[in-house]
Amino acid sequence: MKIIEVENAVKTYKIGEIETRALDGISLSLEDGEFTTLVGPSGSGKTTLLQLIGCLDRPDSGSVKIGGQDVVRLKNGQRADLRREKIGFIFQFFALVPVLSAYENIELPLLLNGVGPKKRKQRALDLLDAVGLSHRVNHRPDQLSGGEQQRVAVARALAPEPLLVLADEPTANLDTENGTQVMEIMQRLNQETGTAFVFATHDPRVVAYAKRVVKLLDGQIVDDGNGAIL
Protein backbone atom coordinates (compact mmCIF):
# COMPACT_ATOMS: atom_id res chain seq x y z
CA MET A 1 0.00 0.00 0.00
CA LYS A 2 1.35 3.42 -0.88
CA ILE A 3 1.73 5.52 2.20
CA ILE A 4 3.54 8.45 0.61
CA GLU A 5 2.91 9.95 -2.81
CA VAL A 6 4.80 13.01 -3.95
CA GLU A 7 3.93 14.39 -7.40
CA ASN A 8 5.80 17.11 -9.24
CA ALA A 9 6.86 18.84 -6.08
CA VAL A 10 8.71 22.12 -6.55
CA LYS A 11 10.29 24.07 -3.72
CA THR A 12 12.29 27.25 -4.01
CA TYR A 13 14.03 29.08 -1.18
CA LYS A 14 14.91 32.71 -1.23
CA ILE A 15 17.81 33.84 0.91
CA GLY A 16 18.27 37.56 0.49
CA GLU A 17 18.18 38.21 -3.24
CA ILE A 18 19.24 34.67 -4.18
CA GLU A 19 16.63 32.09 -5.13
CA THR A 20 17.54 28.44 -4.90
CA ARG A 21 15.42 25.69 -6.43
CA ALA A 22 15.75 22.92 -3.86
CA LEU A 23 13.28 20.55 -5.55
CA ASP A 24 12.60 20.67 -9.25
CA GLY A 25 9.45 18.70 -9.97
CA ILE A 26 10.09 15.59 -7.88
CA SER A 27 7.76 12.58 -7.91
CA LEU A 28 8.18 9.69 -5.51
CA SER A 29 6.03 7.08 -3.86
CA LEU A 30 6.77 4.97 -0.80
CA GLU A 31 5.16 1.74 0.33
CA ASP A 32 4.21 0.52 3.75
CA GLY A 33 7.13 -0.94 5.71
CA GLU A 34 9.89 0.39 3.44
CA PHE A 35 13.43 0.96 4.67
CA THR A 36 14.56 3.56 2.18
CA THR A 37 17.40 6.04 1.96
CA LEU A 38 17.57 9.29 0.03
CA VAL A 39 21.14 9.87 -1.03
CA GLY A 40 22.83 12.67 -2.84
CA PRO A 41 25.41 15.39 -2.37
CA SER A 42 24.75 18.45 -0.24
CA GLY A 43 22.15 20.64 -1.87
CA SER A 44 20.56 17.78 -3.79
CA GLY A 45 17.24 18.28 -2.02
CA LYS A 46 17.19 15.31 0.40
CA THR A 47 16.30 17.29 3.51
CA THR A 48 13.78 19.43 1.63
CA LEU A 49 12.02 16.34 0.30
CA LEU A 50 11.98 14.85 3.79
CA GLN A 51 10.45 18.08 5.15
CA LEU A 52 7.71 18.04 2.52
CA ILE A 53 6.89 14.41 3.28
CA GLY A 54 6.95 15.20 7.00
CA CYS A 55 4.54 18.16 6.66
CA LEU A 56 7.19 20.47 8.05
CA ASP A 57 7.04 22.61 4.93
CA ARG A 58 4.80 23.07 1.90
CA PRO A 59 5.82 22.76 -1.78
CA ASP A 60 5.42 25.78 -4.03
CA SER A 61 3.61 23.49 -6.43
CA GLY A 62 2.80 19.81 -6.73
CA SER A 63 1.15 17.49 -4.27
CA VAL A 64 2.05 15.40 -1.26
CA LYS A 65 -0.24 12.65 -0.03
CA ILE A 66 0.09 10.69 3.16
CA GLY A 67 -2.07 7.63 3.49
CA GLY A 68 -3.99 8.86 0.46
CA GLN A 69 -4.71 12.27 2.03
CA ASP A 70 -3.52 15.44 0.31
CA VAL A 71 -1.64 17.26 3.04
CA VAL A 72 -0.56 20.38 1.20
CA ARG A 73 -3.87 22.18 1.59
CA LEU A 74 -4.38 21.25 5.22
CA LYS A 75 -4.29 24.03 7.83
CA ASN A 76 -1.33 24.26 10.19
CA GLY A 77 -3.27 22.72 13.04
CA GLN A 78 -4.34 19.76 10.90
CA ARG A 79 -0.77 19.23 9.73
CA ALA A 80 0.38 19.28 13.37
CA ASP A 81 -2.23 16.60 14.12
CA LEU A 82 -0.96 14.51 11.25
CA ARG A 83 2.64 14.77 12.39
CA ARG A 84 1.66 13.88 15.91
CA GLU A 85 -0.32 10.78 14.95
CA LYS A 86 1.34 9.42 11.82
CA ILE A 87 4.91 10.62 11.50
CA GLY A 88 7.96 10.17 13.69
CA PHE A 89 11.12 12.25 13.32
CA ILE A 90 14.77 11.57 14.05
CA PHE A 91 17.23 14.39 13.62
CA GLN A 92 20.94 14.64 13.12
CA PHE A 93 21.29 16.68 16.31
CA PHE A 94 19.19 14.19 18.38
CA ALA A 95 16.71 16.96 19.21
CA LEU A 96 15.61 15.69 22.61
CA VAL A 97 13.86 18.19 24.87
CA PRO A 98 16.68 19.14 27.25
CA VAL A 99 14.52 19.59 30.35
CA LEU A 100 12.82 16.19 30.04
CA SER A 101 14.26 12.81 31.01
CA ALA A 102 14.62 9.95 28.53
CA TYR A 103 11.32 8.53 29.75
CA GLU A 104 9.57 11.91 29.55
CA ASN A 105 10.91 12.58 26.04
CA ILE A 106 9.41 9.32 24.83
CA GLU A 107 6.20 10.00 26.72
CA LEU A 108 5.77 13.50 25.21
CA PRO A 109 4.19 12.51 21.86
CA LEU A 110 1.88 10.11 23.71
CA LEU A 111 0.81 12.93 26.02
CA LEU A 112 0.18 15.17 23.04
CA ASN A 113 -1.98 12.40 21.55
CA GLY A 114 -4.03 12.13 24.71
CA VAL A 115 -2.95 8.61 25.63
CA GLY A 116 -3.88 7.65 29.20
CA PRO A 117 -1.22 7.47 31.92
CA LYS A 118 -1.04 3.68 32.31
CA LYS A 119 -0.78 3.02 28.58
CA ARG A 120 1.71 5.87 28.25
CA LYS A 121 3.92 4.49 30.94
CA GLN A 122 3.85 0.97 29.53
CA ARG A 123 4.60 2.09 25.99
CA ALA A 124 7.46 4.39 27.06
CA LEU A 125 9.07 1.70 29.20
CA ASP A 126 8.66 -0.91 26.43
CA LEU A 127 10.33 1.37 23.93
CA LEU A 128 13.16 2.21 26.30
CA ASP A 129 13.68 -1.52 26.70
CA ALA A 130 13.53 -2.05 22.92
CA VAL A 131 16.37 0.43 22.41
CA GLY A 132 18.36 -1.00 25.34
CA LEU A 133 18.00 1.98 27.69
CA SER A 134 15.86 0.67 30.56
CA HIS A 135 18.67 1.70 32.91
CA ARG A 136 18.51 5.33 31.74
CA VAL A 137 14.88 6.06 32.44
CA ASN A 138 15.38 9.21 34.50
CA HIS A 139 18.49 10.54 32.82
CA ARG A 140 18.27 13.86 31.04
CA PRO A 141 19.89 14.38 27.62
CA ASP A 142 22.94 16.05 29.10
CA GLN A 143 23.49 12.85 31.10
CA LEU A 144 23.35 10.60 28.01
CA SER A 145 25.98 9.88 25.36
CA GLY A 146 25.32 10.79 21.72
CA GLY A 147 24.43 7.23 20.86
CA GLU A 148 22.09 6.95 23.81
CA GLN A 149 20.40 10.22 22.91
CA GLN A 150 19.81 9.02 19.36
CA ARG A 151 18.35 5.78 20.65
CA VAL A 152 15.94 7.74 22.82
CA ALA A 153 15.08 9.76 19.72
CA VAL A 154 14.32 6.52 17.86
CA ALA A 155 12.07 5.38 20.70
CA ARG A 156 10.33 8.75 20.76
CA ALA A 157 9.75 8.63 17.01
CA LEU A 158 8.08 5.22 17.35
CA ALA A 159 6.05 6.08 20.47
CA PRO A 160 2.82 7.11 18.72
CA GLU A 161 2.98 4.01 16.42
CA PRO A 162 3.36 6.17 13.34
CA LEU A 163 2.87 5.29 9.71
CA LEU A 164 6.47 6.22 8.99
CA VAL A 165 9.63 7.55 10.57
CA LEU A 166 11.66 10.22 8.82
CA ALA A 167 15.33 10.43 9.77
CA ASP A 168 17.54 13.27 8.60
CA GLU A 169 21.23 12.26 8.80
CA PRO A 170 20.63 10.14 11.93
CA THR A 171 24.23 8.93 12.23
CA ALA A 172 26.02 12.17 11.25
CA ASN A 173 26.97 12.98 14.83
CA LEU A 174 27.72 9.43 15.92
CA ASP A 175 30.91 7.41 15.87
CA THR A 176 31.06 4.14 13.95
CA GLU A 177 30.05 1.91 16.81
CA ASN A 178 27.10 4.04 17.90
CA GLY A 179 26.03 4.68 14.32
CA THR A 180 25.95 0.96 13.65
CA GLN A 181 24.08 0.31 16.87
CA VAL A 182 21.40 2.87 16.02
CA MET A 183 20.96 1.56 12.49
CA GLU A 184 20.61 -2.01 13.73
CA ILE A 185 17.96 -0.94 16.20
CA MET A 186 16.02 0.90 13.50
CA GLN A 187 16.29 -2.03 11.12
CA ARG A 188 15.04 -4.44 13.78
CA LEU A 189 12.15 -2.15 14.71
CA ASN A 190 11.25 -1.74 11.05
CA GLN A 191 10.99 -5.51 10.76
CA GLU A 192 9.16 -5.96 14.07
CA THR A 193 6.63 -3.13 13.76
CA GLY A 194 6.28 -2.73 10.00
CA THR A 195 6.81 1.04 10.34
CA ALA A 196 8.37 2.54 7.20
CA PHE A 197 11.70 4.34 7.67
CA VAL A 198 13.03 6.96 5.26
CA PHE A 199 16.54 8.32 5.76
CA ALA A 200 18.27 11.29 4.20
CA THR A 201 21.97 10.56 4.37
CA HIS A 202 25.47 10.76 2.95
CA ASP A 203 26.62 7.99 5.26
CA PRO A 204 27.49 4.78 3.41
CA ARG A 205 26.83 2.82 6.63
CA VAL A 206 23.19 3.91 6.46
CA VAL A 207 22.95 3.19 2.75
CA ALA A 208 24.24 -0.29 3.39
CA TYR A 209 21.20 -1.07 5.54
CA ALA A 210 18.66 0.25 3.04
CA LYS A 211 16.36 -1.98 1.04
CA ARG A 212 15.83 0.85 -1.43
CA VAL A 213 18.10 3.72 -2.35
CA VAL A 214 16.70 6.84 -4.01
CA LYS A 215 19.35 9.04 -5.58
CA LEU A 216 18.88 12.81 -5.84
CA LEU A 217 20.89 15.36 -7.72
CA ASP A 218 20.18 19.07 -8.09
CA GLY A 219 16.64 18.76 -6.83
CA GLN A 220 15.68 15.84 -9.05
CA ILE A 221 15.50 12.09 -8.57
CA VAL A 222 18.00 10.42 -10.84
CA ASP A 223 17.36 6.89 -9.57
CA ASP A 224 14.21 6.02 -7.64
CA GLY A 225 15.61 2.74 -6.35
CA ASN A 226 13.02 0.67 -8.09
CA GLY A 227 15.12 0.24 -11.14
CA ALA A 228 13.95 3.45 -12.81
CA ILE A 229 16.61 5.88 -13.85
CA LEU A 230 15.06 9.34 -14.32
Binding site: Q51, G54, L56, D57, N76, G77, A80, D81, L82, R83, R84, E85, F89, F91, F93, A95, V97, P98, V99, L100, L108, P109, L111, L112, N113, R156
Partner: protein
Protein backbone atom coordinates in the same frame (compact mmCIF):
# COMPACT_ATOMS: atom_id res chain seq x y z
CA UNK B 1 -1.31 21.90 30.53
CA UNK B 2 0.43 20.11 33.39
CA UNK B 3 3.17 18.97 31.01
CA UNK B 4 3.55 22.49 29.63
CA UNK B 5 3.74 23.90 33.15
CA UNK B 6 6.33 21.29 34.10
CA UNK B 7 8.42 22.07 31.02
CA UNK B 8 8.04 25.82 31.55
CA UNK B 9 9.19 25.51 35.16
CA UNK B 10 12.23 23.48 34.17
CA UNK B 11 13.02 25.80 31.26
CA UNK B 12 12.99 28.70 33.70
CA UNK B 13 16.00 27.21 35.44
CA UNK B 14 17.86 26.08 32.36
CA UNK B 15 19.71 29.35 32.20
CA UNK B 16 19.39 30.06 35.89
CA UNK B 17 21.73 33.04 35.82
CA UNK B 18 19.59 34.87 33.32
CA UNK B 19 16.42 33.97 35.21
CA UNK B 20 17.93 35.16 38.48
CA UNK B 21 18.96 38.47 36.91
CA UNK B 22 15.45 39.04 35.57
CA UNK B 23 14.00 38.14 38.96
CA UNK B 24 16.39 40.46 40.76
CA UNK B 25 15.13 43.29 38.54
CA UNK B 26 11.56 42.41 39.49
CA UNK B 27 12.37 42.02 43.19
CA UNK B 28 14.30 45.29 43.43
CA UNK B 29 11.63 47.10 41.47
CA UNK B 30 8.92 45.78 43.76
CA UNK B 31 10.87 46.60 46.92
CA UNK B 32 11.29 50.15 45.64
CA UNK B 33 7.62 50.39 44.77
CA UNK B 34 6.44 48.96 48.09
CA UNK B 35 8.87 51.11 50.05
CA UNK B 36 7.88 54.27 48.23
CA UNK B 37 4.18 53.54 48.53
CA UNK B 38 4.52 52.52 52.19
CA UNK B 39 6.43 55.66 53.11
CA UNK B 40 4.10 57.94 51.17
CA UNK B 41 0.99 56.33 52.64
CA UNK B 42 2.64 56.46 56.04
CA UNK B 43 3.28 60.16 55.59
CA UNK B 44 -0.31 60.61 54.40
CA UNK B 45 -1.58 58.92 57.53
CA UNK B 46 0.77 61.02 59.64
CA UNK B 47 -0.30 64.26 57.99
CA UNK B 48 -3.97 63.45 58.15
CA UNK B 49 -3.88 61.83 61.58
CA UNK B 50 -1.80 64.61 63.06
CA UNK B 51 -3.98 67.25 61.44
CA UNK B 52 -6.98 65.68 63.12
CA UNK B 53 -5.14 65.50 66.43
CA UNK B 54 -3.83 69.01 66.26
CA UNK B 55 -6.70 70.96 64.79
CA UNK B 56 -9.27 69.11 66.84
CA UNK B 57 -11.66 66.46 65.58
CA UNK B 58 -12.25 64.68 62.27
CA UNK B 59 -15.34 66.72 61.50
CA UNK B 60 -16.32 70.29 62.19
CA UNK B 61 -19.67 72.00 61.97
CA UNK B 62 -19.90 75.69 61.21
CA UNK B 63 -22.44 78.27 60.29
CA UNK B 64 -23.33 78.74 56.64
CA UNK B 65 -20.75 80.89 54.93
CA UNK B 66 -17.77 79.69 56.96
CA UNK B 67 -16.38 77.41 54.27
CA UNK B 68 -15.91 80.25 51.81
CA UNK B 69 -13.82 82.15 54.35
CA UNK B 70 -12.34 79.18 56.18
CA UNK B 71 -8.73 80.31 55.79
CA UNK B 72 -9.53 83.50 57.75
CA UNK B 73 -11.28 81.67 60.60
CA UNK B 74 -14.16 84.14 60.71
CA UNK B 75 -16.18 84.61 63.89
CA UNK B 76 -19.48 83.22 62.53
CA UNK B 77 -21.58 81.99 65.44
CA UNK B 78 -23.22 78.59 65.12
CA UNK B 79 -26.94 78.80 65.86
CA UNK B 80 -28.20 76.47 68.58
CA UNK B 81 -24.82 74.92 69.13
CA UNK B 82 -26.14 72.82 72.04
CA UNK B 83 -28.74 71.28 69.76
CA UNK B 84 -26.07 70.59 67.15
CA UNK B 85 -24.01 68.78 69.79
CA UNK B 86 -27.04 66.76 70.82
CA UNK B 87 -27.81 65.73 67.26
CA UNK B 88 -24.18 64.82 66.56
CA UNK B 89 -23.97 62.61 69.64
CA UNK B 90 -26.89 60.50 68.43
CA UNK B 91 -24.64 59.06 65.70
CA UNK B 92 -22.90 55.85 66.82
CA UNK B 93 -19.57 56.73 65.17
CA UNK B 94 -19.31 60.01 67.08
CA UNK B 95 -17.15 59.77 70.20
CA UNK B 96 -17.28 63.39 71.17
CA UNK B 97 -18.93 66.63 70.12
CA UNK B 98 -17.63 69.78 71.68
CA UNK B 99 -18.30 73.50 71.25
CA UNK B 100 -15.41 75.82 70.39
CA UNK B 101 -14.46 79.28 69.32
CA UNK B 102 -11.69 79.17 66.74
CA UNK B 103 -10.14 82.27 65.25
CA UNK B 104 -6.88 83.99 64.46
CA UNK B 105 -4.84 86.32 66.64
CA UNK B 106 -1.38 87.24 67.84
CA UNK B 107 0.84 86.47 70.79
CA UNK B 108 3.02 89.37 71.82
CA UNK B 109 6.13 89.01 73.91
CA UNK B 110 9.06 91.35 74.40
CA UNK B 111 8.04 93.48 71.46
CA UNK B 112 7.72 90.56 69.05
CA UNK B 113 4.46 89.30 67.62
CA UNK B 114 3.65 85.76 66.53
CA UNK B 115 0.50 84.86 64.57
CA UNK B 116 -1.46 82.07 66.23
CA UNK B 117 -4.79 80.30 66.05
CA UNK B 118 -6.71 80.95 69.24
CA UNK B 119 -9.02 78.10 70.21
CA UNK B 120 -11.49 78.38 73.06
CA UNK B 121 -12.41 74.90 74.26
CA UNK B 122 -14.62 73.14 76.80
CA UNK B 123 -11.82 71.53 78.82
CA UNK B 124 -14.02 69.15 80.83
CA UNK B 125 -15.69 67.86 77.63
CA UNK B 126 -12.53 67.53 75.55
CA UNK B 127 -10.03 66.40 78.19
CA UNK B 128 -11.04 62.68 78.18
CA UNK B 129 -10.01 62.23 74.54
CA UNK B 130 -7.84 65.28 73.96
CA UNK B 131 -4.38 64.35 72.78
CA UNK B 132 -3.21 67.74 73.96
CA UNK B 133 -4.39 66.83 77.46
CA UNK B 134 -2.54 63.52 77.06
CA UNK B 135 0.68 65.23 76.03
CA UNK B 136 1.23 67.88 78.66
CA UNK B 137 4.92 68.58 79.09
CA UNK B 138 4.49 71.02 81.95
CA UNK B 139 1.79 72.61 84.12
CA UNK B 140 -1.76 71.39 83.68
CA UNK B 141 -4.55 71.20 81.13
CA UNK B 142 -7.20 73.92 81.12
CA UNK B 143 -10.28 73.87 83.34
CA UNK B 144 -13.75 75.15 82.46
CA UNK B 145 -13.67 78.22 84.68
CA UNK B 146 -10.08 79.26 83.99
CA UNK B 147 -9.79 83.01 83.54
CA UNK B 148 -6.79 84.68 81.99
CA UNK B 149 -5.17 81.29 81.60
CA UNK B 150 -3.56 80.05 78.39
CA UNK B 151 -2.18 76.73 77.13
CA UNK B 152 0.68 76.91 74.63
CA UNK B 153 2.80 74.36 72.75
CA UNK B 154 6.42 73.48 73.38
CA UNK B 155 7.38 75.01 70.04
CA UNK B 156 5.95 78.41 71.01
CA UNK B 157 7.30 78.28 74.55
CA UNK B 158 10.80 77.72 73.16
CA UNK B 159 10.34 80.49 70.62
CA UNK B 160 9.16 82.95 73.27
CA UNK B 161 11.49 81.57 75.94
CA UNK B 162 8.67 81.32 78.40
CA UNK B 163 7.45 78.65 80.74
CA UNK B 164 4.59 77.69 83.03
CA UNK B 165 3.60 80.65 85.20
CA UNK B 166 4.94 83.29 82.81
CA UNK B 167 2.57 85.84 81.35
CA UNK B 168 2.10 86.59 77.65
CA UNK B 169 -0.23 88.96 75.83
CA UNK B 170 -2.89 87.64 73.50
CA UNK B 171 -4.46 89.90 70.86
CA UNK B 172 -7.63 89.04 68.96
CA UNK B 173 -10.13 90.73 66.65
CA UNK B 174 -13.73 90.91 67.82
CA UNK B 175 -16.82 90.50 65.61
CA UNK B 176 -17.10 94.25 65.26
CA UNK B 177 -13.48 94.35 64.06
CA UNK B 178 -12.10 96.02 67.21
CA UNK B 179 -8.88 94.58 68.61
CA UNK B 180 -8.78 93.22 72.13
CA UNK B 181 -5.72 92.42 74.15
CA UNK B 182 -5.48 90.35 77.25
CA UNK B 183 -2.45 89.29 79.25
CA UNK B 184 -2.67 85.68 80.33
CA UNK B 185 -0.75 83.28 82.51
CA UNK B 186 0.68 80.16 80.92
CA UNK B 187 -1.07 77.36 82.81
CA UNK B 188 0.36 74.50 80.79
CA UNK B 189 2.67 73.55 77.93
CA UNK B 190 1.82 70.67 75.59
CA UNK B 191 4.24 68.69 73.44
CA UNK B 192 2.96 66.75 70.42
CA UNK B 193 6.31 66.51 68.67
CA UNK B 194 5.13 68.95 65.97
CA UNK B 195 7.26 72.00 66.70
CA UNK B 196 6.22 74.16 63.75
CA UNK B 197 2.53 73.46 64.27
CA UNK B 198 2.88 74.04 68.03
CA UNK B 199 4.26 77.51 67.44
CA UNK B 200 0.98 78.59 65.86
CA UNK B 201 -1.65 77.31 68.33
CA UNK B 202 -2.83 78.47 71.72
CA UNK B 203 -5.79 77.29 73.79
CA UNK B 204 -7.97 79.13 76.29
CA UNK B 205 -11.22 78.17 77.98
CA UNK B 206 -14.42 78.68 75.99
CA UNK B 207 -15.67 81.14 78.57
CA UNK B 208 -12.47 83.17 78.25
CA UNK B 209 -12.80 83.19 74.45
CA UNK B 210 -16.45 84.26 74.62
CA UNK B 211 -15.39 87.16 76.80
CA UNK B 212 -12.36 88.10 74.71
CA UNK B 213 -14.29 88.09 71.43
CA UNK B 214 -17.61 89.39 72.79
CA UNK B 215 -19.47 86.19 71.83
CA UNK B 216 -21.58 85.70 74.92
CA UNK B 217 -23.11 82.21 74.96
CA UNK B 218 -22.03 81.76 71.39
CA UNK B 219 -19.59 79.46 69.70
CA UNK B 220 -18.14 79.41 66.17
CA UNK B 221 -17.83 75.66 65.69
CA UNK B 222 -18.80 72.27 66.96
CA UNK B 223 -15.92 69.87 66.66
CA UNK B 224 -16.56 66.16 66.38
CA UNK B 225 -14.24 63.23 66.97
CA UNK B 226 -15.24 59.92 65.40
CA UNK B 227 -14.05 56.45 66.17
CA UNK B 228 -12.19 56.10 62.87
CA UNK B 229 -9.86 58.48 61.04
CA UNK B 230 -10.19 58.48 57.30
CA UNK B 231 -13.82 57.26 57.18
CA UNK B 232 -15.46 60.61 57.71
CA UNK B 233 -17.43 60.74 54.48
CA UNK B 234 -20.25 58.51 55.66
CA UNK B 235 -20.65 60.39 58.95
CA UNK B 236 -20.54 63.74 57.13
CA UNK B 237 -23.28 62.57 54.75
CA UNK B 238 -25.48 61.52 57.64
CA UNK B 239 -24.85 64.67 59.66
CA UNK B 240 -25.42 66.88 56.63
CA UNK B 241 -28.86 65.35 56.28
CA UNK B 242 -29.65 66.07 59.91
CA UNK B 243 -28.05 69.53 59.93
CA UNK B 244 -29.03 71.05 56.64
CA UNK B 245 -28.62 74.68 57.74
CA UNK B 246 -25.02 74.15 58.72
CA UNK B 247 -21.77 73.40 56.99
CA UNK B 248 -20.39 69.97 57.91
CA UNK B 249 -16.79 69.42 56.83
CA UNK B 250 -13.76 67.29 57.43
CA UNK B 251 -10.23 68.56 57.12
CA UNK B 252 -10.25 67.57 53.48
CA UNK B 253 -12.45 70.55 52.71
CA UNK B 254 -11.31 72.90 55.44
CA UNK B 255 -7.64 72.41 54.74
CA UNK B 256 -7.65 71.73 50.96
CA UNK B 257 -3.90 72.17 50.85
CA UNK B 258 -3.63 68.92 52.82
CA UNK B 259 -5.85 67.13 50.31
CA UNK B 260 -3.91 68.65 47.39
CA UNK B 261 -0.62 67.54 48.90
CA UNK B 262 -1.93 64.01 49.43
CA UNK B 263 -3.29 63.89 45.85
CA UNK B 264 -0.05 65.17 44.39
CA UNK B 265 1.91 62.55 46.27
CA UNK B 266 -0.50 59.90 45.06
CA UNK B 267 0.05 60.97 41.44
CA UNK B 268 3.78 60.93 42.02
CA UNK B 269 3.56 57.38 43.38
CA UNK B 270 1.54 56.29 40.36
CA UNK B 271 4.03 57.71 37.86
CA UNK B 272 7.06 56.27 39.61
CA UNK B 273 5.21 52.99 40.04
CA UNK B 274 4.54 52.79 36.32
CA UNK B 275 8.18 53.47 35.54
CA UNK B 276 9.34 50.76 37.95
CA UNK B 277 6.89 48.22 36.55
CA UNK B 278 7.95 49.06 32.98
CA UNK B 279 11.59 48.54 33.88
CA UNK B 280 10.80 45.13 35.36
CA UNK B 281 8.79 44.21 32.27
CA UNK B 282 11.57 45.25 29.92
CA UNK B 283 13.82 42.85 31.81
CA UNK B 284 11.37 40.02 31.30
CA UNK B 285 10.74 40.94 27.68
CA UNK B 286 14.47 40.85 27.01
CA UNK B 287 14.86 37.53 28.80
CA UNK B 288 11.99 35.90 26.92
CA UNK B 289 13.16 37.21 23.55
CA UNK B 290 16.57 35.72 24.26
CA UNK B 291 14.95 32.45 25.29
CA UNK B 292 12.87 32.32 22.09
CA UNK B 293 15.93 33.08 20.00
CA UNK B 294 18.05 30.42 21.67
CA UNK B 295 15.35 27.78 21.56
CA UNK B 296 14.20 28.34 18.00
CA UNK B 297 15.37 24.90 16.85
CA UNK B 298 13.81 23.29 19.91
CA UNK B 299 10.50 24.88 18.95
CA UNK B 300 10.88 23.31 15.52
CA UNK B 301 11.32 19.93 17.13
CA UNK B 302 8.24 20.41 19.29
CA UNK B 303 6.28 21.41 16.19
CA UNK B 304 7.62 18.33 14.41
CA UNK B 305 6.36 16.20 17.29
CA UNK B 306 2.93 17.69 16.68
CA UNK B 307 2.74 20.44 19.28
CA UNK B 308 0.41 23.15 18.00
CA UNK B 309 1.25 26.86 17.80
CA UNK B 310 -0.87 27.78 20.79
CA UNK B 311 0.79 25.06 22.87
CA UNK B 312 4.26 26.32 21.93
CA UNK B 313 3.09 29.85 22.74
CA UNK B 314 1.76 28.61 26.10
CA UNK B 315 5.16 27.15 26.90
CA UNK B 316 6.86 30.54 26.73
CA UNK B 317 3.93 32.44 28.19
CA UNK B 318 3.77 30.17 31.25
CA UNK B 319 7.52 30.53 31.68
CA UNK B 320 7.25 34.31 31.65
CA UNK B 321 4.31 34.22 34.06
CA UNK B 322 6.23 31.95 36.42
CA UNK B 323 9.24 34.27 36.42
CA UNK B 324 6.91 37.16 37.15
CA UNK B 325 5.07 35.31 39.92
CA UNK B 326 8.18 34.02 41.67
CA UNK B 327 9.81 37.44 41.41
CA UNK B 328 6.63 39.14 42.60
CA UNK B 329 6.27 36.81 45.59
CA UNK B 330 9.88 37.40 46.63
CA UNK B 331 9.59 41.12 46.00
CA UNK B 332 6.40 41.43 48.06
CA UNK B 333 7.87 39.51 50.96
CA UNK B 334 11.15 41.42 50.97
CA UNK B 335 9.35 44.73 50.46
CA UNK B 336 7.13 44.00 53.45
CA UNK B 337 10.22 43.07 55.50
CA UNK B 338 11.85 46.38 54.63
CA UNK B 339 8.77 48.30 55.80
CA UNK B 340 8.60 46.29 59.03
CA UNK B 341 12.31 46.86 59.63
CA UNK B 342 11.92 50.62 59.15
CA UNK B 343 9.05 50.73 61.61
CA UNK B 344 10.87 48.50 64.11
CA UNK B 345 13.85 50.86 63.91
CA UNK B 346 11.60 53.77 64.93
CA UNK B 347 10.82 55.11 61.50
CA UNK B 348 12.86 57.49 59.40
CA UNK B 349 13.96 60.65 61.22
CA UNK B 350 12.10 63.53 59.68
CA UNK B 351 12.50 66.27 62.25
CA UNK B 352 14.85 68.17 59.96
CA UNK B 353 11.94 68.83 57.60
CA UNK B 354 9.78 70.49 60.26
CA UNK B 355 10.74 73.95 59.00
CA UNK B 356 9.68 73.16 55.43
CA UNK B 357 6.11 74.19 56.04
CA UNK B 358 2.97 73.34 57.98
CA UNK B 359 2.03 70.28 55.97
CA UNK B 360 5.50 68.77 56.07
CA UNK B 361 5.62 69.63 59.79
CA UNK B 362 2.51 67.53 60.26
CA UNK B 363 4.55 64.45 59.37
CA UNK B 364 6.14 64.71 62.76
CA UNK B 365 9.69 63.86 63.80
CA UNK B 366 9.69 60.29 62.56
CA UNK B 367 8.13 58.89 59.43
CA UNK B 368 6.66 55.42 59.70
CA UNK B 369 5.66 53.21 56.80
CA UNK B 370 2.10 52.06 56.22
CA UNK B 371 2.09 48.27 55.83
CA UNK B 372 -1.20 47.32 54.26
CA UNK B 373 -0.89 43.70 53.03
CA UNK B 374 -3.57 44.30 50.38
CA UNK B 375 -1.59 47.15 48.86
CA UNK B 376 1.54 45.01 48.80
CA UNK B 377 -0.37 42.15 47.21
CA UNK B 378 -1.82 44.52 44.64
CA UNK B 379 1.64 45.55 43.51
CA UNK B 380 2.68 41.91 43.29
CA UNK B 381 -0.31 41.07 41.12
CA UNK B 382 0.31 44.06 38.84
CA UNK B 383 3.93 43.06 38.33
CA UNK B 384 3.01 39.41 37.70
CA UNK B 385 0.36 40.42 35.15
CA UNK B 386 2.76 42.82 33.42
CA UNK B 387 5.37 40.04 33.31
CA UNK B 388 2.84 37.82 31.59
CA UNK B 389 2.06 40.55 29.06
CA UNK B 390 5.77 41.13 28.48
CA UNK B 391 6.13 37.43 27.59
CA UNK B 392 3.21 37.54 25.19
CA UNK B 393 5.03 39.08 22.23
CA UNK B 394 8.03 36.75 22.14
CA UNK B 395 5.75 33.79 22.88
CA UNK B 396 3.49 34.69 19.96
CA UNK B 397 6.50 35.17 17.71
CA UNK B 398 7.75 31.76 18.74
CA UNK B 399 4.50 30.12 17.76
CA UNK B 400 4.29 31.69 14.31
CA UNK B 401 7.46 30.25 12.80
CA UNK B 402 7.26 27.40 10.30
CA UNK B 403 8.77 24.14 11.64
CA UNK B 404 11.10 23.76 8.66
CA UNK B 405 12.38 27.29 9.14
CA UNK B 406 13.09 26.80 12.84
CA UNK B 407 14.62 23.33 12.60
CA UNK B 408 17.63 24.56 10.72
CA UNK B 409 18.33 27.55 12.92
CA UNK B 410 21.37 26.93 15.09
Amino acid sequence: MIEITKMAWRNMWRNWRRTIIAMVAIVLGLILLILMDGMIKGSDQAIYGNAVRLYGGNIQIHATGFRAKASRLPLLPVDNADQVVEIAMTHPEVLLASKRINTGGMVNERGESYPVTITGIQPSTEAPISLIAENMAGGRFLEDNDEDMILIGRGLSEELEVGVGDRITLTGKRKNETMRQRTMTIVGIFDLGLREAEKSMVFISLAEAQSLFNLHNQETEVTISTNMVGKEKQVINELSTDLQDYEVDSWETLKPEIRETLDMKSQFTTIIGLVVVMIACIGILNLMMMAVFERTREMGVLAALGMKSHQIMSLFLVEGIMIGMVGAAMGCFLGWLVLVAINQAGGIRFGFAADMGDIVALMGDALYAATNPLDILRFGVIVAVMAALASLIPAWQASQKEPAETLHQV
